[in-house]
């Protein structure tokens, strides 16, 4: 059985800094997989490599058996990959609706796009209330919702989430994570990168632990929650 997303022995550099030292991981269809680790562990770099924003120096990234490295970043949306970038990356001078339209940029089916905008509004009613507002004026939580809604507009089969909990109040984090579960139930496979290991391991099926560019642990989420090292370093359990 081939995995939906397969990353095999990927090395990547920022200049002379060896950011990824042979990462291998895979994500099966329908899963939520989380990648946890501290600052500078290489979590964002891994996502950027998947999206072709960075080229690995060796190793490969395959989606449904097809090598993604031969594509430009702008071709990935059509391949079914969407990313919610770190810090949300909403287009702050564009309105909420325009942001959502940008998410469907590669699509031509107007009716389908209109339908999906309504779907996103159903998922995040706040966005509907603010559809004409310039998104730079939204709160952090609303911007996170917008970034996720925008990613959903491309009807992705694989959604990459980069620290959706960053800078949000605990209540909002709960809401965002339950939406992630909802999106997954509707059929989107999810790779979730998080520093908030506690929350991430609650919704994920499996997890990988990344430390300074290497995967040091991988297991199902339940076992990781019980793992002594994970408890000490990432869950703050003494």
């Amino acid at each position: 059985m081939t995995a939906m997303l397969e990353i095999n022995d990927v090395h990547a550099y920022y200049g002379k800094i060896h950011a990824l030292k042979g990462i291998s991981l895979n994500v099966e269809q329908g899963e939520i997989v989380t990648l946890i680790g501290g600052n500078g562990a290489g979590k964002t770099t891994t996502l950027r490599t998947i999206c072709a924003l960075m080229r690995p120096t060796s190793g490969f990234v395959k989606l449904n058996g097809e090598d993604l490295n031969k594509y430009k970043p702008s071709q990935l949306a059509a391949k079914g990959v969407a990313m919610v970038p770190e810090g949300r990356g909403v287009f702050s001078r564009m309105t909420v609706l325009e942001n959502l339209e940008m998410g469907a940029f590669h699509r031509k089916d107007k009716a389908g796009i209109a339908e999906d905008i309504e779907r996103v509004y159903a998922l995040f009613p706040r966005l509907k209330e603010r559809h004409g507002q310039v998104s730079g004026t939204l709160s952090g939580g609303e911007q996170q919702m917008l970034a996720m809604g925008r990613a959903m507009m491309s009807r992705p089969s694989l959604l990459l989430l980069d620290e959706p909990s960053m800078g949000l109040a605990p209540v909002l984090v709960e809401a965002i994570f339950s939406t992630v579960e909802e999106i997954n139930r509707q059929g989107t496979t999810i790779l979730l990168v998080e520093q908030n290991a506690l929350m991430a391991l609650q919704i994920a099926g499996r997890g990988y632990v990344l430390q300074t560019g290497e995967i040091v642990l991988s297991d199902n989420a339940k076992s990781l929650q019980r793992n002594a090292m994970v408890q000490k370093v990432y869950l703050g359990v003494e």
Partner: protein
């Protein structure tokens, strides 16, 4: 607190700037008062003032059209494209030598003046767009990841390159731009007396500016340009071809420059290979005045600069007793640039707040 402590706390640069501000305001007020109430310098009637204003407005329309190219490219690449004046020149030169003078010589120009103007404009726009797309592809795109100073210097090089290419093709002489007879003379509209060409420039530039604004705000391509201006990586993840959006930005800016070049020809009735330099610098000033990166800002800055340049010297400088005030319009324009850079570096419609947020 002792006096010496208080003196030490004063920021002397601020003090100097305040003195400077007050001096300018006093100077402007004295100039205007002496001119209007004490009849300093030449006496002008209402008609004369209206004439200054209208010619300023039409000149401003030209600046606005060219300024859009600077501001849009800056918006997506954070680069001052100093070759933009040459995009303007290339359209004007090629259209004059290859189309306008031929059509004028055969008499077609005065038989079908409207078709003539459209043909000349289309040819000018196509030339400007080709030159700008070539420059972007060959000189700028390979430097996308270079430090910001590198493309700036390349732009200056590209500017010289195009000037001398066009001098090589068409020679270094001044060439007359043929103006159809229907555009000669004056026309009365709404009780105001316009030079026909001036009126045409004002109308065409306003229509072009509105069309461009709608293009950027409403069309899918326009929105992709705005998305690329905000975040290239994220825009790419949305499926936007970033290189293509940037090329489109250059093309649209050059299109406006190409239109401006023909209007410029109609007003000044001549072209030369070096004609891009001064309008280029003036339009850049207008873009900075309005707040570089902002499209409404560039339009506003252009008209503002044009009007100040036309009305400022007779109103303020003559009032202050400056000799030959009409020849000082360039001084007025660049003085305005310096003042804006000192007192309001983000321009009239500044984007300082938005930048901070990003």
């Amino acid at each position: 607190m002792t006096l010496s402590q208080r003196l030490r706390d004063i920021d002397w640069i601020d003090v100097w700037l305040w003195i400077f501000r007050i001096l300018i305001i006093v100077g402007v007020v004295i100039g205007i008062v002496r001119k209007l109430f004490f009849g300093a310098g030449t006496a002008y009637g209402v008609d004369d003032w209206l004439d200054f204003f209208i010619s300023g407005l039409s000149q401003g329309g030209l600046y606005a059209l060219i300024a859009l190219g600077y501001t849009m490219v800056y918006g997506v690449l954070f680069m001052i494209n100093f070759a933009h004046g040459e995009f303007f020149m290339s359209g004007g030169m090629a259209a004059t030598y290859l189309v306008a003078s031929t059509l004028a010589a055969t008499g077609f120009m005065n038989e079908q003046p409207i078709i003539y103007l459209v043909l000349v404009m289309v040819f000018s726009v196509l030339t400007s767009m080709s030159v700008s797309l070539l420059t972007e592809r060959i000189a700028y795109r390979p430097l996308r990841r270079a430090p910001r100073l590198v493309p700036l210097i390349t732009a200056i090089g590209a500017s010289f390159f195009w000037q001398y290419i066009f001098r090589g093709f068409f020679g270094s002489a001044v060439k007359a731009f043929p103006v159809p007879t229907i555009l000669e003379g004056r026309v009365n509209v709404l009780g105001l007396d316009f030079l026909k060409v001036r009126l045409m420039v004002i109308i065409v530039s306003i229509v072009a500016l509105i069309a461009l604004y709608l293009f950027v705000q409403k069309t899918k391509t326009g929105k992709s340009i705005r998305a690329v201006a905000e975040d290239k990586d994220v825009a790419a993840l949305m499926g936007i071809d970033v290189d293509r959006a940037i090329a489109t930005t250059f093309a649209v800016g050059a299109m406006m420059a190409g239109i401006a070049a023909v209007l410029w020809g109609l007003v000044f009735k001549q072209v030369i290979f070096s004609m891009g330099f001064v309008p280029g610098i003036k339009a850049f000033t207008a873009a900075v005045l309005g707040g570089i990166g902002s499209i409404p800002g560039a339009a506003l800055g252009g008209f503002f600069l044009g009007v100040i340049e036309a009305v400022g010297p007779p109103l303020i400088l003559e009032g202050l007793g400056a000799p030959g005030a009409h020849q000082l319009k360039d001084v007025t324009a660049f003085l305005l640039l310096v003042l804006v850079l000192i007192f309001r570096p983000q321009g009239i419609i500044g984007e300082r707040l938005a930048e901070k947020k990003a």
